[in-house]
């Protein structure tokens, strides 16, 4: 459970102060696919950053799986982020000169995990994302979709409890974006809490819970049924004439991908 109690976040001081979050109270259930939507400047990224221990609250409390983040010092927060959070950024944030394997293994490298162990885990994550053939490629040699897969692999390699995705589809075309959402859903299906920050309502409709932030306040919390999610997924998969859109599969032709595609997602919905 992730609890936010009377969370306020104010940037700046005095006249220039910006009240990014105002008395936000939230209880996010674990193992759910949660989206945070809102206009630019609404406070959705701030909320995600606070949940992800990247930012501190001005007042209020935030508790993630029993950890009171406000009481942690920088070192503990860094360790918390390293062990419990997986980040997926819009701009991927991969080190271009590192290989895919090195990028994916980075959280484990930081954690001081033995090389053989971290490479094994990284290979497993890479394999899950279906980019095994790119392992030795430099990140700079990858396409946008592939980079985002690497980014997702890096987010899950250390088996975190929470995956935070900040506009992960922002730099991708619609089909690759849709694929990323499917991948996030599949991660969620493995029991992880996935929090997606997006301004794309279509993507948000594919999540279990959609939280709308407006001017720093939680304006709406919408729970989607499986049917609604399926419909949203269907809408993104088929055009207006009902034809299946050509899938780019994140520029990947890797047949070994084990993360479920739309078909598997559909199966998941039926369950």
């Amino acid at each position: 459970m992730i609890k936010l109690i009377n969370v306020n976040k104010i940037y700046g001081k005095a006249d220039s102060a910006v009240h990014a979050l105002k008395d936000v109270n939230l209880e996010l259930e674990e193992g759910k696919f949660i989206s945070i939507v809102g206009k630019s400047g609404s406070g959705k990224s701030t909320l995600m950053n606070i949940i992800g221990a990247l930012d501190s609250v001005t007042s209020g409390e935030i508790e993630c799986r029993g950890n009171v983040l406000c009481k942690m010092n920088d070192v503990k927060l860094a360790n918390y982020r390293n062990k419990n959070i997986g980040y997926i950024f819009q701009s991927f944030y991969l080190e271009p000169t590192f290989t895919v394997l090195e990028n994916v293994a980075m959280p484990l490298t930081i954690a001081g995990v033995k090389r053989s162990v971290r490479e094994l885990a990284a290979m497993e994550a890479i394999s899950k994302l279906g980019i095994s053939d790119k392992t030795t490629k430099k990140a700079s040699e990858l396409s946008g979709g592939q980079k985002q897969r690497v980014s997702i692999a890096r987010a899950i390699v250390h088996n975190p409890d929470i995956i935070l995705a900040d506009e992960p589809t922002g730099n991708l075309d619609s089909q690759n974006g849709s694929e990323v959402i499917r991948l996030l859903q599949s991660i969620c299906d493995e029991g992880k809490t996935v929090i997606l920050v997006t301004h794309n309502i279509d993507d948000a409709k594919k999540t279990d819970i959609m939280i709308e932030i407006k001017d720093g306040v939680v304006a709406n919390i919408i729970h989607h049924t499986e049917e609604e999610k399926l419909a949203a997924q269907h809408a993104s998969d088929y055009d207006e004439q009902g034809n299946l859109k050509e899938k780019n599969m994140l520029d990947n032709k890797d047949e070994e991908a084990t993360i479920p595609t739309s078909d598997v997602a559909t199966e998941g919905a039926e369950l």
């Binding site: 982020r81 390293n82 080190e95 980075m106 930081i110 506009e167």
Partner: protein
Amino acid sequence: MKFWSVLKLSFHNLANNKLRTFLTVVVLFIMAAVVMLMTGFGMSFFNSIGASTDKAMNEGDSRVSITEQCSYVDDVGYERHEAANFMDNTVVEQVMDVYKSEENIFHTIEFSTFYGANLSVSNQISQFSVSPKPMYMGANQFAGQKDYLTAGRMWNISDENTTNAWVSDTLMEKYELGDTIKFEENENTFTICGFLVSDLNKDPYSQGGIELFIDYKLFDDTTMSKTSEGQVYYNGELVINKIILNTFHDKDNMFTDSIVSDLKGFKKSLNSVDNYDDDGIYVQSSILDELKFAMMMKIMVLAVIIFVSVLIILLSIGSVSNTIKITVEQNRKFFGMMKAIGMQNKTVRRVVQWQAIVMVLIGTVLATGLTIGLMYMVEPIVAMMMASVFGEGAIIIAGLPIYIPFVVFFALVGFVLLFTVKNLNKISKMDVISVISEVN
């Protein structure tokens, strides 16, 4: 994060901007090489001065016996005078008279090298022995007797059973420059301000007599800076009242006149030396002054080395510090991402610090290689400079002390880390959110 991972990231960041890394290493290399070369040169000069000075202070077995106003007529060859012969002090007084007539310029100063084990005399001698008592007595000549008057004064033979022995061997005390000697008779105190130099490399016994004495190059390098009215001053202080040259070998005391004649000749020859002025005052600078000059040179060399080294190290630091600053700025995204996924501030700092250390290490290693090579060129320069100060007897110790590269390395690393604290603090204060926002 493990050390090797930190190091790998450091190398990665260095390799990411090869040109900047290369230029910084070049700067460090040049700076370190200059510092090491200067230090090597300075240390060579410094050590050579020290060794030459030590040699001047310690080397040689030339001993000078100074007795106050007592001429001592030594024996010649194997037929030595019996001590008893001196009891009436006739010869002594004769000689004394001569010298008194010669304005009593000199105290009795006697070389004792001729009985010492080591007859080689260097022109860098500074240590000598002064005996307030006569140097030689054949104990068998006076065994059982006490209170012999020898060389103008009384002294005791404590061991009646002693055999023929060099009394002075046991009585001699060694003195250093600047030591004072107190004579028992009238409690006059003298300061050793110089030494006599002889080019004796021969056994005086084999030479014998007056000629030997003439060979002595008395006062060639003595420190009498001023003589006047039979007094020797050093730095304005009266150090010796009178000096009488009194080492000669006068078999059977038959050559007193010749001796006196030769002494007169010797005095004349002294007067002909450039260092004597028209008034016969010896003006040669003191060996102490020379040593002081050498010491001053050592200090000056040290000061120059330290000053220039610090200056160069500061320039190096400026260069590396600037590189670190640029690195931090250019790697904002990288460090921001690392911090976002859990890298601690201290780890980020370590990555940057190791970048600096690696650059300093490469620069220092290259500089060490170059300096060792160039030290071969330094040696003749040091030798030339030393020869100009100490003459041919100078000791040359040229080379780069093994610890210098390490000192330079650690000094550079220490200063670089110290001066990059500000930039490293920027990393700690780096706002990950703003970094992410910049890109997003």
